[in-house]
Amino acid sequence: MRGSKALPRPLPAPGAAWIGFALAAAAWLLAYRSLRPFWDAVVFDAAGLRPGSRTADVVHFFLYDTTKILLLLSGVIFAVGVLRSFFSLERTRALLGGRREGVGNAAAAALGVVTPFCSCSAVPAFVGFVAAGVPLGVTLSFLIASPMVNEVAVVLLYGLFGWKVALLYVASGLVLAVAAGFALGRMNLERWVEPFVYETRVGGVALDPSRGLGWDERFAIGRQEVRSILARIWPYLLVGIGLGALIHGWVPESFFLRWAGPDRPWAVPFAVALGIPLYSNAAGVLPLIEALHAKGVAMGTLLAFMMAVVALSLPEMVLLRRVLKPALILVYVAIVGLGIVLTGYLFNAIL
């Protein structure tokens, strides 16, 4: 009999979940392919706007990008949601417990990407990891990778800039998480962790939410993820895309090139410094980045900005203050910030 911890549920036909999934996938593909022709017809033929005119550009950009991004996001959030249903903080904690640094950092970064993790769990997750014998640096690798290499960011990068940029982003995010976590681990900063963390005993029997789930439950989790994430980010998306549309149509190229073009060396640190105190999810920031890029701001600078916004979040720092002393938080921000700046320069050089 399946684990007694599995949720009780009604019994649908086993194949029904997969049939539903196949139908939805087909519908999604069809919609995705017909997007451009559809909006071309609506904006240029039906509404009669002249292709190339500012109004037509802005309207088309806004409508097409919003729907394209929504479709992409729905598809990927669903897929990743289902993937994440196989992982949990409890399982990750067990996998990382007692591992030494180096390998542990790499494992932590990889797991950071696939483990479902809400910022509010940051504190129990941190304490739980430490109590399970996960080294401090390894735990930090997890905490860095998790928000940065998230599927929303990767999808949007792919949709807007192509797979090379998306791949580079994932690779650099992972390398950064491993390197920064390893460096922080080597600094022996345990003295800057609140003492009670090392004295906490994790009690009870850990309930692993990833065990014993049927496919229909996993698909339900995927659907729920899409609903909850879209519900949370849609205002950011609209504002971000709206802003991008306006910039697309109205701001002259020279404006941004003057202070942030590829030939300005201090643009990268400036962008990172700007991004650190800001907090947004990747969705809100990316359309803006797309428009700025179209106006000539270097890709590396923009990606560095995005990483700084997404990876270092003020709300999470405030939460972590309960377990980390301010000195450690500062060093953490400094090292990760430095890594992001270096990544920005690297991207500017390669892309």
Binding site: K5, P8, P116, V127, G203, S210, I221
Partner: protein, 81 residues
């Protein structure tokens, strides 16, 4: 029955609390729903992923927000034979 919602105050923890209230309403059950925000206590239950639901001292769900229907089923199981 003793019901506890473990969470540190984020949106999903509030949603869980609301769904629990709705489930209780649907089943016409009266029970105290206590919100536990002290992570020392949360860890005492062995929970790393919040929000989590504890019925009569036993952790029945952790890591995500179930719909009211699932909570109903859990409550029925806990009060059942």
């Amino acid at each position: 029955m003793e019901i506890k919602v473990l969470g540190m105050g984020c949106q999903s923890c509030r949603t869980l609390k609301a769904n629990v209230a709705k489930a209780l309403n649907d089943l016409a059950l009266k029970a105290e729903v206590e919100e536990v925000t002290d992570f020392g206590e949360i860890l005492g239950y062995g929970v790393s992923s919040t929000p989590a639901l504890v019925l009569d001292g036993k952790v029945v769900l952790a890591g995500r927000v179930p719909q009211a229907g699932q909570i109903r089923a859990l409550l029925e199981q806990a009060t059942g034979p």
